[in-house]
């Protein structure tokens, strides 16, 4: 079924309904609000998957600006099952089947795949910076010249075989398991941040001295570790560095994306990487200072971890939207933290939606809670709930429903 409204409008309408129900005569209608919350979740899924697809597309466009010898990296992104365009993400279409697993929306599945893909590449990127002696980083020779080529390193470095071999994941592109790093949402940060030209980069990877546009040797063509072509699942499986590869410190590395500012932050066991690496004992960092890739990220401590909330949702909505692949014990940033660091960007609607998506990741009780507060001003019904108001009342909303 095609909906005349896009996900964002549906979210906005739904929030308006929930808010107006709080002032309706007779009190909150539990049934109606529950149904509206289902629509909210459905729309949110689609919205998120559309955003990721957009970002993914943007990334691809950056790639296409690279010299042709980096074409193989496009293949790297062509993970099996990855949709060619955002259009494949929605409207919600379920694969067949009657059980909860089978009913998981295809968009969501693709979202997982996206997560996998980005996480993989970003980790490899960071890996490259942190490990002074890359294992056969032949890609270094093929280091891209342009700043935007930050990611072009990845397939080469993706070839890095973990010292003791990558554990077999069983299925292609399933969420990072079993480690404690579940669904991160990496996005390649500003190219400059992870420019391989960074002097800290391992010597072998310091080919970036080549001028932009230079065509590095095609040594990057075939990652040694991968037996299969880039597009096969085996490529990722084999190349996926085991959590233990990063050493004790970084055994649960999580890279998070802020949808508003598109800043990537890597978090290690709950700590920002620069904190971890500041320790002289960190084995994974050649220097005691954070890599440049993190320098810019460190500037903003905002963390967005929608993967976490999606897991929470599924724990809460048992069987409602299909089972989330188990993610172990993920690092859970405090959900409230992102609200305190609210930095409005130029697009108030987008930031409203992003933040409100975060809010309602906290489950149904985040939606309905009677506030006996007659002095409360109703929100301006100008099409979008004011994010600040929504945030201000967040604490009220999460109060338990027992009083109702």
């Amino acid at each position: 079924m095609e909906c005349a409204l896009d996900a964002q409008s549906l979210i906005s309408i739904s929030l308006r309904k929930i808010h107006s129900s709080r002032t309706q005569r007779g009190g909150i209608k539990l049934h109606k609000n529950l149904l509206v919350s289902y629509v909210l979740r459905n729309a949110r899924q689609l919205y998120l998957s559309e955003r990721y697809a957009e970002l993914y597309r943007r990334q691809q466009q950056q790639q296409q600006q690279q010299p042709p010898h980096h074409q193989h990296q496009h293949l790297a992104y062509a993970a099996p099952g990855m949709p060619a365009s955002a259009a494949d993400f929605g409207p919600l279409q379920l694969g067949g089947g009657g059980d909860a697993e089978a009913r998981e929306p295809a968009a969501r599945h693709q979202l997982h795949q996206l997560h996998q893909l980005h996480q993989l590449h970003l980790q490899q990127q960071l890996h490259q910076h942190q490990h002074p002696a890359p294992r056969g980083c032949a890609a270094a020779a093929g280091a891209p010249a342009g700043g935007a080529g930050a990611l072009s390193e990845l397939p080469g470095c993706a070839a890095l075989q973990p010292p003791h071999g990558a554990p077999h994941r069983g299925q292609p592109l399933e969420p990072l398991q079993p480690g404690p790093a579940p669904l991160p949402l990496p996005l390649p940060p500003a190219p400059a941040a992870l420019c391989p030209r960074d002097p800290r980069a391992p010597a072998a990877c310091s080919a970036p001295s080549a001028p932009p546009g230079a065509a590095p040797p095609a040594a990057t063509a075939s990652p040694p570790a991968s037996p299969a072509p880039a597009s096969s699942p085996g490529f990722y499986r084999g190349a996926y560095p085991a959590p233990s590869d990063f050493g004790v410190h970084c055994s649960s590395q999580t890279t998070v994306l802020d949808l508003d500012t598109h800043v990537v932050t890597t978090v290690e066991n709950g700590y920002l990487h620069q904190d971890c690496c500041a320790s002289a004992h960190c084995p994974c960092c050649g220097q005691g200072a954070p890599g440049p890739g993190l320098a810019s990220a460190a500037g903003c401590k905002r963390k967005y971890y929608p993967g976490q909330e999606e897991e929470d949702d599924d724990e809460e909505d048992a069987g409602e939207l299909g089972a989330e692949p188990p993610g172990g014990a993920p690092f859970a940033p405090c959900k409230r933290a992102r609200f305190e660091d609210f930095c409005p960007d130029s697009s108030p609607d987008a930031s409203n939606i992003s933040n409100l998506i975060s809010i309602f990741g906290s489950g149904f009780s985040g939606l309905v809670s009677r506030q006996p507060d007659s002095s409360e001003q109703p929100p301006p019904l100008n099409g979008q709930l004011c994010a600040k108001q929504a945030l201000a009342s967040l604490g009220a909303w999460t109060r338990a429903i027992v009083a109702f």
Binding site: M1, E2, G26, L30, H31, Y38, S374
Partner: protein
């Protein structure tokens, strides 16, 4: 295709007689919110948003005027519920009557239960058509006589008077529910009844108001885990231990009170797997069951969700035995129906007395009937324009593209503010009561007045 039923369908040869609900100065107060025949069909009760109950009585058939046989006239009107305020929660409690259920008649008086969101009341309706006259101690106006003037004794005599219907509240069952009551149902034992809100079902004794037993509780320990609510419930018509309740997820649970004191664990679970090709943003909303009714035989259940009515066999849990599309043309319009809140409308459904025909309401003041035996269906309209006295209702048709006939209505010209949520069918005869906003229509099938 909609509205196929032709004139040979029994129920479409309906002669019209409508009785209009009394209008009050507050236009909002008389939107009819529930309609219910009593067990003989002699009385018809309606409740409205203003908390009032109006009871209609069927006139006895008169040989002198055969055409006016069996018409319903107003019998009694009373204020059942008033708006209340819960100071603890700062909540206003609406006076709207959600449900009325008649008690089986056990003496000359009639009794019914009426409920709003929080409180159930038992009303006793009695008639007075005689008045005692000739008191010794008081005069005709009721003033005490001067004893010195009393010289003889007389026995007071009952003299006929104009019929007076008196209604009095006999019981008030309050404080039993935290959430909004959506259904009440009288047990076949005629001693107990149940009331259901979003999360709990309570069992009451009709004579005891200060306590009730909780028999179903689906409230999760953590409200964040809430995934479904109770939407309707009903006792089995014959087995006093069985009842069913429906959920917002589209499932039915049959519970046996003999099994345990708390019937959280169902005896049977009726649910149909969702069709994945129909998945949309609004799948959860349109699968929510808005009404459930046992058939008179007790063998089947009838459920209504937003787009369909389904007949379930108590012996088969896997899926309904029959599914009827009420207005499938709305499936592509769910988005706008969500915007204007129509998608949350709770339509009721009804069996006829012989369980051969089922009826439910729709939009544009249309209502639909489905004959289970012939598989014919018909769409009829409850409107003043099309209702001349004794005119046969003409079947209507909603065209969804393709060939359009002259009197067809297109989907886009349907009036979604005119919705028929509440309908009732006489227990024995082909008489139906249709509530269209603030008007009550009563239709009778003169051609086939006996139920087949």
């Amino acid at each position: 295709d909609e509205g196929q039923g032709g004139s040979d369908a029994r129920v479409t040869g309906a002669e019209l007689r409508f009785c209009k609900h009394r209008l009050e100065s507050n236009p909002r107060a008389d939107i009819i919110s529930t309609v219910e025949f009593n067990h003989t069909g002699e009385l018809l009760a309606t409740g409205d948003k203003g908390g009032r109950v109006v009871i209609f009585q069927r006139e006895p058939e008169s040989k002198n005027a055969p055409h006016s046989q069996g018409e319903y006239d107003v019998y009694s009107t009373f204020q059942s519920h008033e708006p209340e305020f819960d100071y603890l929660k700062s909540l206003e409690i609406e006076e709207k009557i959600n449900k009325i259920k008649w008690l089986p008649q056990q003496n000359a008086a009639h009794s019914l239960l009426s409920t709003n969101d929080k409180t159930i009341k038992l009303w006793k309706i009695t008639e007075r058509d005689k008045r005692p006259e000739g008191y010794n101690l008081k005069d005709e106006e009721g003033k005490l006589k001067d004893l010195s003037t009393v010289t003889s004794l007389q026995v007071p005599v009952l003299k006929p008077m104009d019929l007076m219907v008196e209604v009095s509240p006999r019981r008030i069952f309050a404080n039993g529910h935290t959430y909004h009551i959506n259904s009440i149902s009288v047990n076949s034992d005629c001693e107990t009844y149940m009331s259901a809100d979003d999360l709990r079902i309570n069992l009451w004794h009709l004579a005891i108001t200060d306590r009730s037993f909780n028999i179903v509780d689906i409230k999760p320990a953590n409200m964040e885990d809430l995934t479904e609510v109770i939407t309707a419930s009903e006792f089995h018509p014959h087995h006093c231990n069985l009842f069913v309740y429906s959920s917002s997820k589209g499932s039915l649970r049959l519970c046996d009170m003999r099994a345990a004191a708390l019937c959280d664990k169902h005896s049977k679970l009726f649910e149909e797997p969702e069709d994945p090709s129909n998945r949309s943003f609004f799948s959860e909303i349109i699968s929510s069951v808005s009404d459930v009714k046992f058939s008179h035989s007790g063998r089947y259940m009838l459920t209504r969700d937003y787009l369909t009515v389904k007949v379930w066999d108590l012996n088969m849990e896997a899926r309904p035995i029959e599914t009827y599309q009420v207005h499938d043309y709305l499936r592509s319009k769910l988005c706008s129906l969500y915007e204007n809140d129509c998608i949350f409308d709770k339509f009721e459904c009804a069996w006829n007395g012989s369980d051969s025909v089922i009826m439910t309401g729709a939009y544009n003041n249309f209502f639909r009937m489905f004959d289970r035996n012939t598989k014919r269906d018909v769409t009829l309209e409850a409107s003043r324009e099309s209702s001349k006295p004794r005119a046969v209702l003409k079947p209507r048709r909603v065209c969804v593209g393709g060939k359009r006939r002259r009197d067809d209505i297109s989907v886009d010209s349907l009036d979604f503010t005119k919705k028929i949520l509440h309908t009732a069918w006489h227990p024995a005869e082909n008489i139906i009561a249709i509530a269209a906003t603030n008007n009550l229509y009563i239709f009778q099938d003169k051609v086939n007045s006996e139920m087949h």
